[in-house]
Every structure is written in structure tokens, then in C-alpha cells.
């Protein structure tokens, strides 16, 4: 669900920016973050706004399309119906039927995309809000949040990685300001940025906010702090060794990021840093799956 929200917001803002640009607008960064398309396929599609909307929202052969993610989430929800509240189940179901409706393809082709994306985003926030106020604060809730913040941390790192690869990780380079503006808008960090930094858009500040600002709900550090907090709640008598293993991994990642500065990241290379962070997150996710869900 967290991923759907990310995808939809990204689409919305990139669409808005495609309307703003006099030059040809390219969707390639979005495709790189959220799809498994290879270079050629992405290039072929990069300039066709409507095709991208179709592919990203209702593309059946795109494993990360909103339709497929929501279908999976609903399947999961169905199998654990006894653990989630009835309201949550209904939200998931509504969302599922919302993206399934036949008219959607037609709307995405002809109508104002923002209206449609807004509608889908609303399904998502309704789900988040409903979860927050109806779900008992037990183990189930903790696992939902663990998943949510894992996904969010990975997403933020991914977005940064792709966006900065466009400027060859050169933090001194000043791309035109709209570039950073739309990046921030797509992760709802624009207003906070304006309030934190006064001197216009600088790549270094953008990086600092998205990685290290613990008041920014989409930052890497915030997501990992939360992840840790919710993980600590699943501690119980029986699984101490497993718990300790993962607790150690999260704690290690958390402090490694906590004791980083923008300067040290730049010195070691942003790409390397983001990659290491992502790898740690993936390892944590895998270990969680092994220990708690007996997958793999």
C-alpha cells in the first residue's frame, strides 16, 4: 500500500511537471524507480504520457502497477481477515474495485489525469487513516507498520538514487530549480524544504532532507527510526534469538545513518551510501521474512 501511494504521487507530480515544461518531458526517471523495464523499453515509452499512465496504473503485465499491487494487497488482506478490522478490509476492497472498473482505462486516456490520480490517492489515504484508527495496537499493527516503513525507506533511497544519477551524483551541479522542486513535491517535502532552507534549491540540501531530516516523514532516517520502534514491539519471550538478530541489524543501520553527515556522504559517494542502505534494508526484510513468516 505504501508503494501505491508512492507511485500515485509520483505520477501526479510528474504529470504536472510534464504540463509545465516547454521542452520535451521525459518520464524515464519514474520508469527507472518503479518498473523493471530495461533501458530500451523505457526509452521507447519515455515521452508518451498517456501510455505511461496506463502502464503504471492498470498495466496487467507491470508487476508494480497500481492494479497489481492493490490486487495483491487485497489477496493478503483476504487471507488475514481475522487479523485486520472489517473497516480496513472494506477499504482494500473499495480500492480494488476502484482500480478494476472498466471506465478507468478510458478516463486515463481522455480525462484530466490529476482528477483520477487524486481519486486513487484518496482510496489509499483512506486505508491508512482507517488502519490508524481501527486497528488494535497489537502484533498485527506492528507488522503492518514494519512493512510500511521498510518500503518507504527503500523508496526514498531509490528515488534519490535515480534522480541523482541523472546529474552523475555531482552535488555541486545546479540543475535548474524545477528539477529539485518536482522531486520534493512528489514526496510531499516541498513546503518543509522551503521552511528549512532559505537559499533556493541546492542538491546538497535536498539530499540532506531526504536522508537525514528526522522530522520529514519520508526521509530515510525517519523511516528507519519508525521501523525500529515498531520492531521493538514485536519482542516476546519465545523468539528472543531471532528478535535479537534483526534488532541488531536495524540498530546498526540506524546508528550508521544517525552518525552520518551530508559531508561524509558526499565524501564516500552518494551512490555507494544509498546502495549500502538499500542492501541493508533488503537484508533486514529477508531476515524478517525468514524468521517470522517462514518464507524462502
Amino acid at each position: 500500500m505504501e508503494r501505491t501511494d508512492g507511485v500515485l504521487r509520483m505520477l501526479k507530480i510528474n504529470y504536472a511537471s510534464s504540463q509545465d515544461d516547454v521542452q520535451a518531458f521525459s518520464w524515464k526517471p519514474v520508469l527507472k524507480i518503479f518498473t523493471f523495464l530495461n533501458e530500451e523499453e523505457a526509452n521507447a515509452m519515455a515521452h508518451d504520457t498517456r501510455a505511461i499512465l496506463q502502464y503504471m496504473v492498470i498495466g496487467k503485465d507491470n508487476p508494480n502497477s497500481v492494479l497489481n499491487i492493490v490486487t495483491l494487497a487485497r489477496e493478503n488482506g483476504r487471507s488475514v481477515q481475522d487479523h485486520i478490522t472489517k473497516e480496513m478490509w472494506q477499504c482494500l476492497n473499495d480500492f480494488y474495485h476502484g482500480v478494476r472498473q472498466e471506465a478507468l482505462a478510458d478516463w486515463l486516456q481522455k480525462e484530466d489525469p490529476v482528477t483520477i490520480l487524486d481519486m486513487l490517492i484518496k482510496y489509499g489515504v483512506l486505508y491508512f487513516g482507517t488502519t490508524d484508527i481501527t486497528m488494535a495496537r497489537g502484533e498485527g499493527n506492528s507488522f503492518i507498520n514494519i512493512g510500511k516503513y521498510l518500503e518507504r525507506a527503500i523508496q526514498s533511497a531509490d528515488i534519490l538514487d535515480v534522480k541523482f544519477s541523472d546529474v552523475n551524483y555531482d552535488l555541486g551541479e545546479t540543475k535548474d530549480t524545477t528539477y529539485w522542486k518536482y522531486l520534493l513535491l512528489s514526496i510531499s517535502g516541498y513546503e518543509l524544504y522551503l521552511k528549512t532552507y532559505r537559499g533556493g534549491f541546492e542538491a546538497r540540501n535536498v539530499m540532506e532532507q531526504v536522508v537525514l531530516n528526522d522530522q520529514f516523514p519520508r526521509s530515510v532516517i525517519y523511516s528507519i527510526n519508525r521501523l525500529h520502534r515498531y520492531f521493538e514491539r514485536v519482542k516476546n519471550e519465545r523468539n528472543t534469538p531471532d528478535f535479537n538478530q534483526i534488532d541488531f541489524m536495524i540498530g546498526k543501520l540506524k546508528s550508521s545513518i544517525k552518525f552520518t553527515t551530508p559531508d561524509s556522504i558526499i565524501e564516500d559517494g552518494l551512490h555507494l551510501f544509498l546502495n549500502e542502505t538499500k542492501n541493508s534494508l533488503y537484508t533486514i526484510a529477508d531476515t524478517l521474512n525468514q524468521n517470522y513468516f517462514a518464507l524462502i
Partner: protein
């Protein structure tokens, strides 16, 4: 089929420049957009109009009308058909406005210091001293970077041969820029993909440029100066604009009571104590700014703010006392100013203006009163004016008497027919009169004009008054990018 229906009833008034229709055909710049509209049915267009209204409502772009104790939220009328300006036209406007602003800014600096323009006999001294907006408090005070006019919204109109005229200079606290930004957002929503197809230039840079200029004015050499936007409060009709700009720039929105002056420094009251303020973008008029110096009854301003300003401890935007330069009587002298200060010929023309303070000109105006519009020099927003063509004999007689009491306070201009542009009204395109207000920002780096502006439209048929307080609406304003050279035209 709908094609003809949409355009059939489009009858341009004789003797009027129409933005869309010229020489019996649709002008080049409109072709693309008109073709697009023609593919839509009336139902679809109505739906788009409906959507636009709903979007304004949900964005809170509304003003409140109070009747019988209940507030009713209303939106300013928005017409969905954009007004289109070609790259060449824009280039001309841009050059003209920059020239005019350079001259006006030099005039303000001169008039508040050496007053060479009076000593050289270009402008009579009584013109200045009789102007209520001329503030002695500003005398011999060097404003930062010599910039008085940080933000301006100069009104332009087009007469029947298509040439641009300056209608008035708004150099104090020009409003409406949020409509330029919002209208564009709405167009993005109701006509998807139409903007990139037409190569329309973006206006979203405005808050960024303004913010950068405000930062550069800070008297402290500080990377993070405190900037505030001073609003008269939630009952001001432009309050929406103040909140929008504050949010887009990430600055604090304050009212007079949130600020306090101590030892010639301005502070903002915050939960963690007083915070020194470096730059104030004020949307409060001069008269209300400082009760110690100006209007003592004012609760909108801050006591002592002028002393902090004069000490150079805080920058105020726009500078205080600019009213003397956009006074309607001073307006007549702007072409002379351009020649005097810049030694250039004015690019944008003035509307011929008669000073009613001069006997022979007053006589001429009174003799031709049906062809004239008479305005008060210190009023704006379409208040206190007389349209000679529409007024009754009684109104004229009364107005004449009022003029004779203090002729200096009045000017007259021949009624210029504004250009018209298509509006979508009652399921058809109909021509309505429009003007144009581009917004220019001046910082230490020079003058920048965001490609676009506010097009105001007189929605009543035949009406020439575009002010929103008088039944006017607005349109999105497109400035087209120059065609890429290799493609040719």
C-alpha cells in the same frame, strides 16, 4: 457542426482589436487552441467549466460575502478560454515595462533625494507636493540597493489598432498574482496536454524569484534571514493571496500584532521568544504601516516600524512612499521621465491624459465629456470614476461640481476601447473586453518579468470595466515560447 456553433455567434465589435479574430480568420497563435475547443461538445465544455469552479472551491480561492450574518463563499469568475500572447508581442511588452520601471525607480530615488527633475524644470514642484502619497518621512533615506519598486503590476490595454498602452502603474502593493498562478494550475487540469502542445511558457518560477530577491535584501549578512509577509488579516479580500505566497515561499505570514519593535529593530513574537525580522514583504498600505507616523488609528501596522526601516535594520518591500510614482496625475509625466532619466524614447505609450488642474485642459474635457472617462488620482479599483459615455446628465453635473472643488485630484482620459478576447459564456464563444497585468520583480540582479500575467475580463457584454469589484473576471494568460529556430515558422 459544433465548430460553427461555437464560433458562429462570435461577432467582434467594430473598431476593436480582437485577440483571436483578425483579418477574417483566426490568428495564428489561437489556431491550435481553437481547433482543440472545436472538437469538444458543449456538454464537455460545460463540464470543464464546472470542474474549474469546483477546483477553485476546493483550493479555497474564494472570497466571502457577508449577508444577513452568514458568510457565503464565492469564487472570482474564471473564464476557461486562455488569452494567448505571441513571443513577439511579449518581447515588446517585456522591453517596454523594463524601461518604464527603470525610469520610475530612478524617479523615486530622485524625488526623495536631490529632486533634479524639479530643478531641471521637467516636472512642476506642485505636482509632487500636492500628492498625498508623497511622504516626507522617506526623504534622504537610501533604500537598500536603491530599489523602490520590488514588485509591480503595470496594467496594459490594447486599442483598436492592436498597439499596447499603459493604463496605470501599480507600484505599491499590486495584487492578483496568485490568480496568475492558480489560473494556470486550473488550465492544467481542465485542458490536459494542451499547454505543452502549444509551447506555453511556465509561470511557476514567480515565488522562487520573489523569495530570492527578498533574501538578498536582508540587512544582516546571514544565510537564513527571517522573512515575513505582513498581511492586514483574514478579512482582507486578498488574504488568500497572502497565504498562498507565504506558503509557496516558505515564509511566515504575520499580522501587525505579531510584530513588535524594540530599540529600532523589528521582532516577531514566536513560541520560543522574540525573533529578529530581516525582511518584511508587506501587503499593508503606507497609511496603515506605522501608527506613530501615519494613520494613528491603524491597528494593522506596527508602531515604530518606520524608525527601524530608516535605521536600515529591516527591509520593507515595496519601499514606502511609492504612491507618488503611480499617482494618476504623475502618470502623465512618465514618458518625460523616461526621456529625462534614460535618454530613450518610451517603448510603451501612455494613454493621452488631461490634467483637470489645468484650466484649458479641463475645459476641453468638459466640452467632450461624453467621450471621456474621469478618474480620481488617488483611487484605484475602479472606484470614484465617471464614464462619460454611460453617465446620466445629472451624474455629470454632480461630478463636475465635485471636480471643481479640487481639480488636482482628477484626471481624464479619452475612452479607449479595450481589445476583446473570446470567452466561453452560455455555451458559445463571445468576445469580451480584456486588459493585461504582467508582474515584474526587481532585485539586485535586475528586473525579471514572469512570462504571463493576469488577464482581467469585463464579463458583462459591452462593458469596459474589468475590475473584479465591478463584475470582472479573469483568464489564464499564455505567453508562447519562440519557435525553435531550426523549424522556422
Amino acid at each position: 457542426m459544433q465548430t460553427s456553433e461555437l464560433l458562429q455567434s462570435y461577432l467582434v465589435d467594430a473598431n476593436t482589436w480582437d485577440e483571436m479574430h483578425g483579418d477574417h480568420a483566426v490568428r495564428e497563435q489561437y489556431k491550435n487552441a481553437v481547433e482543440f475547443m472545436q472538437q469538444l461538445s458543449v456538454e464537455e465544455l460545460n463540464k470543464k467549466e464546472e470542474l474549474a469552479k469546483r477546483l477553485f472551491m476546493s483550493q479555497g480561492v474564494t472570497f466571502t460575502v457577508y449577508s444577513s450574518g452568514e458568510g457565503i463563499e464565492k469564487i472570482f469568475p474564471f473564464d476557461i478560454i486562455p488569452r494567448i500572447i505571441t513571443a513577439a508581442e511579449w518581447g515588446f511588452i517585456e522591453k517596454g515595462i523594463k524601461q518604464r520601471l527603470r525610469a520610475l525607480n530612478l524617479f523615486l530615488k530622485d524625488i526623495y533625494s536631490s529632486q533634479f527633475i524639479i530643478k531641471d524644470g521637467v516636472m512642476p514642484a506642485e505636482m509632487i507636493y500636492s500628492c498625498p502619497h508623497y511622504l516626507r518621512e522617506m526623504h534622504n533615506f537610501p533604500v537598500p540597493y536603491d530599489i523602490y519598486i520590488h514588485i509591480s503590476g503595470i496594467d496594459l490595454i490594447r486599442n483598436n489598432d492592436g498597439s499596447f498602452y499603459i493604463l496605470e502603474d501599480n507600484l505599491r502593493t499590486p495584487s492578483g498574482v496568485s490568480y496568475m498562478l492558480e489560473n494556470r494550475e486550473i488550465t492544467k487540469r481542465i485542458f490536459p496536454d494542451l499547454l505543452p502542445q502549444n509551447n506555453v511558457r511556465s509561470v511557476t518560477e514567480y515565488p522562487t524569484i520573489l523569495h530570492r530577491n527578498l533574501v538578498s535584501l536582508s540587512p544582516r549578512q546571514n544565510k537564513n534571514p527571517t522573512i515575513v509577509l505582513l498581511t492586514p488579516g483574514i478579512y482582507n479580500s486578498a488574504y488568500f493571496e497572502h497565504t498562498t505566497l507565504a506558503r509557496l515561499m516558505g515564509v511566515q505570514l504575520v499580522e501587525g500584532s505579531d510584530l513588535v519593535v524594540d530599540n529600532h529593530k523589528v521582532f516577531m513574537k514566536t513560541t520560543s521568544g522574540l525573533q529578529l525580522v530581516d525582511v518584511i514583504y508587506r501587503r499593508v498600505d503606507d497609511d496603515f504601516l506605522d501608527p506613530l507616523i501615519f494613520n494613528a488609528d491603524s491597528r494593522l501596522g506596527v508602531a515604530g516600524i518606520m524608525s527601524a526601516y530608516r535605521k536600515g535594520n529591516v527591509a520593507i518591500v515595496n519601499a514606502v512612499g511609492n504612491g507618488v510614482a503611480d499617482d494618476k496625475a504623475i502618470y502623465t509625466f512618465v514618458p518625460a521621465m523616461i526621456r529625462y532619466y534614460l535618454n530613450e524614447e518610451p517603448i510603451l505609450k501612455n494613454v493621452p491624459t488631461y490634467q483637470l488642474g489645468k484650466d484649458e485642459e479641463r475645459e476641453h474635457v468638459f466640452n467632450n465629456i461624453h467621450k471621456m472617462v474621469i478618474k480620481k488620482t488617488n483611487e484605484s479599483g475602479g472606484y470614484g470614476m465617471l464614464m462619460g459615455s454611460a453617465a446620466t446628465e445629472e451624474e455629470i453635473t454632480n461630478y463636475k461640481a465635485e471636480v471643481l472643488q479640487d481639480p488636482r485630484q482628477f484626471i481624464a482620459q479619452p475612452i479607449i476601447s479595450l481589445s476583446s478576447a473570446p470567452c466561453y459564456l452560455d455555451g458559445k464563444l463571445q468576445p469580451r473586453r480584456i486588459d493585461l497585468r504582467p508582474y515584474a520583480l526587481c532585485g539586485p540582479g535586475g528586473i525579471e518579468i514572469v512570462p504571463g500575467g493576469l488577464t482581467r475580463v469585463a464579463l458583462r457584454e459591452g462593458s469596459l470595466i474589468v475590475n473584479s469589484s465591478q463584475g470582472g473576471g479573469s483568464k489564464d494568460t499564455w505567453v508562447l515560447a519562440p519557435p525553435p529556430p531550426e523549424r522556422g515558422i
